[in-house]
Symmetry: C2
Subunit: 400 residues, 2 copies
């Protein structure tokens, strides 16, 4: 295990993905950014693409639409290899929340909706609304068991707090065996962890592009429907971009034959261009290579936490087995909130805080260096050892 800075630098020197760091805008190398799992960095290519797309709007005007209209599908096809899907099975559009509403609404059959009690809140909120409208029950569970009477399962691939990685093939098989539709939420895994949707026989998924896909604040989400799972599914939000013949405009709504039926309104062209660029970078590096680096870096992070932070009252809340963790590590500490504030303001390390007591450190292998992990943990150790967080307010406030 590499616990010295020299060891970390040696790992950087032989990192096959090291060159990808140059693909990102990094204005301030002294800032250690370990929150790419919340908002990814700006790729250089995306900065250029956004300028070009803005120019395209200005010069092509409405005549640009024939070139833009397939952007949800184009961006979706770029995302597909990241999550183990095929062409035509992924559509980038709307937000994760709206996509989950559409897909859960379409896939849900009579019966209870089952979801992790620790799912990201927006997932639970969407499902609360759905069961209220349909007179169904929402079952919030710790683990997947007892699918009797269930009409839908929604499951997160990586837990947004602990970083625990769910066993996607096993859960997919269990739901299939029970005959219950299953929607995966890939927001906290896609781009850092191979997902393998097709290989597992998964039918439905949603995810976001502003974390490990580096598409920018509020960039569109995506949804996945396996080719064989489209059947007669209908989106509860019927819009003109989901209509079979969009520009006929006259007849009653008839859903498009393919996944486009899950489009609703006019798609956000700039955000979709950014999503496509972000996915391209992930594909250029290769999701397996990204995963290998992510595991090495989270392992280093955990080792350093054990060595340096455990004596300061931290515990590692993330599973230690490679096969059971995603790409971020949760450190529990009773003073997590003010430690997070102090880290940002005094130590120039960007983690994030998740209530009630988690300092979350994310690895984005396309631009995180082994020395970044080493240095961030050293700064955290020194800060807390010196009591640098103790002058901060105890009350939690807003952190995204």
């Amino acid at each position: 295990v590499a616990l010295t800075r020299e060891d970390a630098a040696a790992l950087d020197a032989r990192d096959p993905l090291a060159g990808f760091r140059d693909a990102f805008v990094i204005d301030d190398p002294g800032l250690l950014y370990l929150d790419g799992n919340s908002l990814g960095r700006l790729p250089v290519a995306t900065r250029e693409r956004l300028v070009a797309m803005t120019g395209d709007w200005g010069s092509s005007l409405v005549s640009g639409w024939p070139g833009w209209i397939d952007f949800p599908r184009r961006a979706g096809d770029a995302i597909a290899p990241v999550i183990g899907a095929g062409p035509g099975e992924v559509l980038a559009c709307d937000s994760v929340t709206v996509n989950l509403f559409k897909l859960a609404g379409a896939a849900h059959r009579d019966g209870a909706i089952v979801c992790q009690v620790d799912a990201f809140p927006t997932d639970r909120y969407v499902l609360e609304g759905l069961v209220a409208a349909r007179g169904a029950e929402l079952r919030l569970v710790d683990g997947l068991s007892g699918l009797d009477g269930a009409g839908l399962v929604v499951w997160s691939h990586v837990d947004y707090r602990t970083g625990e990685l769910a066993d996607l093939p096993a859960i997919t098989a269990a739901c299939r065996d029970a005959g219950v539709p299953l929607v995966w939420d890939l927001s906290h895994s896609a781009g850092a962890v191979p997902v393998g949707l097709n290989a597992a026989g998964a039918e439905f998924a949603v995810g976001c592009t502003y974390k490990y896909l580096n598409a920018g604040p509020g960039a569109p989400g995506y949804l996945y429907v396996a080719a064989g799972a489209l059947r007669d599914l209908r989106s509860p939000i019927q819009g003109w971009f989901g209509q079979a013949e969009q520009f006929a405009m006259e007849r009653p709504y008839q859903p498009a034959a393919g996944i486009e039926r899950f489009l609703a309104g006019t798609p956000p062209i700039l955000g979709l261009a950014a999503a496509e660029e972000g996915a391209r970078l992930v594909n250029a590096a290769g999701i397996e290579a990204i995963r290998a680096k992510s595991l090495a870096q989270t392992a280093l992070l955990i080792d350093l936490a054990d060595a340096w932070l455990a004596p300061l009252g931290f515990t590692v809340a993330t599973p230690r087995e490679d096969g059971r963790r995603g790409s971020h590590v949760a450190l529990r500490h009773p003073d997590a909130w003010r430690i997070t504030r102090a880290l940002v303001e005094r130590a120039r390390v960007i983690p994030d805080f998740r209530p009630p007591d988690v300092v979350r450190l994310g690895i984005a292998p396309l631009y995180t260096r082994f020395t970044d992990v080493h240095d961030a943990l050293a700064r955290l150790r020194d800060l807390v050892a010196a009591g640098g967080h103790e002058s901060y307010d105890l009350a939690p406030g807003r952190v995204t």
Copy 2:
């Protein structure tokens, strides 16, 4: 009436809004763009703002969120004066389609949903889906009468094909008297026609920003809820941005006290910045001044059509009374489709086509000149008189 080019040039010379044309990127002055009612031009300030926002993402990273999180409200507050609403009554987010789904779903009471038979298709599609889910009836009507048994009315302020302007105060009063909630669709009026929502006592509206608000392809829509109309309304799409305490993250969903309850997922920051810039330009010019110029230009357009195009088989489908038309003019012609194609390709005039037989010409007073109107109609006249459209295919295809 000004029918010579000199007359049109004289109108431009004394146009108080003439200077606003310089606020837009216009690469090709020879192209006559009369489709700002479909996709508005790129403002210079927006081009700069998008570059700045991209840079802000790159350098602020996740720490940018405290500055971005209020963008839906900020952009909404910028749009508010355009449509006669107050601060805190407008939220920019999602697409028009999704906003209509949320607002119609929230405002609908037991009973039929009433909508214009000629409403923009996505409105009808959304409502078809809503009534199917709720076991209600969708009544598609020509004019508003017979609100017995109605649980919601959705009405377009300006008809997307004919350009007819609805009597917003009268229809609002009729629905209020009948006790039926009413959602206005302002997509084809806002930014070109004063709307006066508060003055009319209107409770609900949705609209788009990529037409007369010049926010770019697929920029977010907006929704309006009068301050007194929020009551216990709940969005059918419950998401974390609509939650009372977004970052508490733990308890069951509780809608925000204000209009933010109609947010769902993470909002698109670049698109919201563009929407704010676009609304600012409209406010700088003043919606009343914009309306005066729009009426003068559509009157000129109709006069020229009467003089030059009627002999060629065109009829004006737009009402001639000032108080009954919006900011675009519909010319009916049996060959509308191929005339539209020929106009674009041979005459460098950009209109759009709406099935089955409409050539639609839009006035965007912030950048359309009187000479543009004159020249476009002259080119149209000369093209059709010479049979320049006759070599084009008769079959209608895709035009946005």
